[in-house]
């Protein structure tokens, strides 16, 4: 078993999506390590810069979800200046954010997560992509995906001032509003987005839920972990991406804590492991018990599925219907099967589209009252939003002139580092028995972490070539037995 298998050549892979699997003397999995390098020096980089620059700088952290960083930083900057933006400003930010969510969730489902199901988990990697999907299901789907992305970009540009990296949120509100003509245009696009989200859910229903093999895969034990769930909720405990409190429920679905953004440090701590630079956040008041499931383990997930698990429902009618169907089909709350994250993501897509229409049809959305002038001395502030990949926390401290003296960020994917580690290990355990490595290992491991939609762009940033995955299997003495590589 000393054969080296290279599925695709990759140049430098150090630390990028790298999984080390150690076997025991019997050839079964003793341990598995999913390694991601961390970007360094952000806290140092921002020290001395004005707090109002943070929404502009932090959206450069990552090319995948700049809108999420823009919003979290803007909310933190409001808090630093102790200022409350006017109602219209908050609605404009949330409207932009809803359109962004539609683009982002669409991209993940059709380009990344969906292909595993639409093409099937056993399909060759070359077919498990967006092209495979359109070849199998039809060209019109591709056109809809492009249209959805175009509309999402258009709304971000109209409200955010730029197509990709918005620049209009400032402490106390927004630098610009929207005209009545723009409102009309955004509303039309929003109605189209609602139809598209419903179409996507129907596609999932027909292709995935209509196929017993896929349903068995989703409900199977390989992709199940009983952890705590985290997500933001509004005053009615309904899912909200932009505003509210962070709610955590235990593995049985009971509320464990609900906290305001500024209280996060009382509830979240970070565990350090010697084999990775990235830290593992966990629930401080439960404690770190290792990479284990259960009510006594502080491990939590922050994903579309956990957001549904922590909420009492969705704030919009069609999404609520889908929410009810989701839990009815999967046997009640909470759901722990990680592959159900894909379905939850589509329910969130529908909610985001409905919320888009709700906000843009509010009579106050074109009001010129979009900024509250800050008058107090800046000090310290926390801003939290739900990024598509999990709860995103920005925390800044400033001097009396508003210059940053310290910063702390917990990005979406980081929340899920422990569960991703556990899911990849479990997939490996199921596919390596007595020294025999099942040939489906790479696909199954890939599906395990892909469900979380991990943003290596944020947690790690640069990737060589295409997104690579390398798995090294080592014997009990640490000698490499096999190296598996492929582009995901």
């Amino acid at each position: 078993m000393t054969q080296r298998i290279s599925i695709d050549p990759v140049t430098r892979l150090e630390g990028h999506g790298k999984i080390e699997i150690f076997l025991d003397d019997n050839g079964n999995v003793a341990n598995s390590y999913f390694q991601i390098p961390e970007l360094r020096g952000f806290e140092r980089f921002v020290v001395g810069r004005p707090i109002e620059e943070m929404p502009l700088i932090t959206n450069r952290i990552c090319g995948v979800c700049p809108e999420a960083h823009h919003m979290a930083a803007a909310k933190a900057a409001d808090a630093v200046y102790h200022v409350e933006p006017p109602h219209t400003a908050k609605m404009l930010r949330e409207l932009l954010y809803s359109a962004f969510y539609c683009t982002d969730h669409t991209t993940h489902f059709y380009a990344l997560g969906g292909p595993d199901f639409v093409m099937g988990p056993d399909a060759p990697v070359a077919e498990r992509n967006i092209l495979g999907v359109i070849h199998k299901v039809g060209l019109e789907i591709g056109g809809k995906v492009i249209q959805m992305r175009r509309y999402g970009h258009a709304v971000v540009e109209m409200i955010g001032g730029r197509k990709v990296h918005p620049c209009t949120s400032i402490p106390g509100g927004m630098t610009k509003g929207i005209t009545k003509e723009q409102r009309q245009e955004i509303e039309e696009m929003g109605h189209w987005a609602v139809d598209f989200a419903q179409f996507s859910l129907k596609l999932f229903n027909d292709i995935v839920l209509g196929n017993k093999t896929y349903v068995d895969l989703i409900l199977g034990d390989v992709y199940t972990h009983h952890t705590y769930s985290m997500g933001m909720v509004d005053v009615n405990n309904k899912v909200n991406f932009y505003n509210g409190k962070v709610r955590v429920v235990d593995p049985n679905g009971k509320e464990f804590i609900k906290y305001a953004p500024k209280e996060y440090m009382h509830h979240i701590a970070e565990h350090v492991e010697p084999w990775t630079y990235l830290k593992f956040p966990y629930l401080k008041n439960v404690g770190w018990k290792g990479f284990v499931d259960g009510i006594d383990s502080g491990v939590y997930m922050a994903t579309p599925l956990s957001r549904l698990n922590v909420a009492d429902g969705m704030a919009t009618p069609r999404a609520q219907e889908e929410y009810d169907r989701f839990y009815k089909t999967l046997g009640g709350k909470p759901v722990h099967q990680r592959l159900a994250i894909h379905w939850a993501r589509l329910i969130e897509l529908l909610y985001a589209a409905e919320r888009w229409v709700e906000l843009v049809t509010d009579p106050e959305i074109t009001s010129p009252d979009i900024h509250t002038k800050p008058t107090q001395i800046p000090t310290e502030g926390v801003g939290i939003v739900e990024a598509p990949r999990g709860t995103l926390t920005h925390h800044y401290w400033t001097d009396e002139l508003g210059r940053v003296t310290k910063a702390n960020l917990i990005v979406g994917t980081t929340n899920n580092y422990a569960p991703i580690q556990m899911s990849t290990k479990k997939a490996a355990e199921n596919l390596i028995k007595n020294g025999v490595v099942n040939e489906g290992l790479l696909n199954m491991v890939e599906m395990a972490f892909r469900a979380y939609d991990p943003c290596f762009g944020c947690a790690t940033h640069s990737l060589p070539g295409q997104m690579p995955l390398e798995i090294t299997i080592r014997d009990a003495d640490g000698n490499p037995l096999e190296v598996l590589k492929q582009f995901c």
Binding site: L39, R60, G63, H108, N129, I146, R149, H461, G465
Partner: protein, 167 residues
């Protein structure tokens, strides 16, 4: 003939921002550079990969991407490649961890009827440090910015460049 030159990268992540710096240099040099029949040329800077990057290339006949590379070559080495030659090398932003590779995205866009460049060339600069937040480039990378810009301007006059390497 419409050409787009795209500086790719993250301007606050050390050497990863080299694509932007080269694109800015091209913008400076372009008015003085004698180009014959080059047609319309747009120069932009982006922090995108995959589908998002593809969407910016729609409507162009030719695209030249400038990106940070990860290779075992000497830092500051410049590689010129066709997009479809890439997988053995590593251009950071022709992919996105979150969606699909640029190659797949272009194929997808074309199958949807979008007008996309037949030829996408990639000019890559081998980097030193891409995991530390900084607006500065490492010295060996900073030293080749002007040369890389000149290479792109030369490329503008050539339609069919095959893989070459400048060290």
């Amino acid at each position: 003939m419409k050409t787009i030159i795209v500086g790719l990268g993250n301007p606050i992540l050390g050497d990863d921002g080299v694509g932007w710096k080269v694109a800015e240099e091209i913008q400076k040099q372009l008015p003085q550079f004698p180009l014959q029949d080059a047609g319309k040329i747009d120069v932009i800077c982006l922090s995108l990969g995959g589908l998002g990057l593809m969407e910016h290339l729609i409507g162009y006949d030719r695209a030249i991407l400038i990106d940070a590379f990860s290779t075992d070559d000497q830092p500051g080495s410049i590689l010129i490649m066709k997009l479809n030659e890439l997988p053995n090398y590593s251009a950071y932003h022709t992919t996105s961890a979150h969606d699909t590779s640029l190659q797949k995205a272009i194929e997808f866009g074309k199958s949807m009827g979008a007008k996309l460049p037949e030829d996408v060339e990639v000019v890559g600069i081998t980097t030193v440090r891409v995991h530390d937040f900084s607006e500065e480039l490492s010295p060996p990378v900073a030293d080749v910015v002007s040369f890389a810009a000149r290479i792109v301007l030369d490329l503008l006059q050539q339609l069919h460049i095959h893989k070459e390497q400048y060290v």
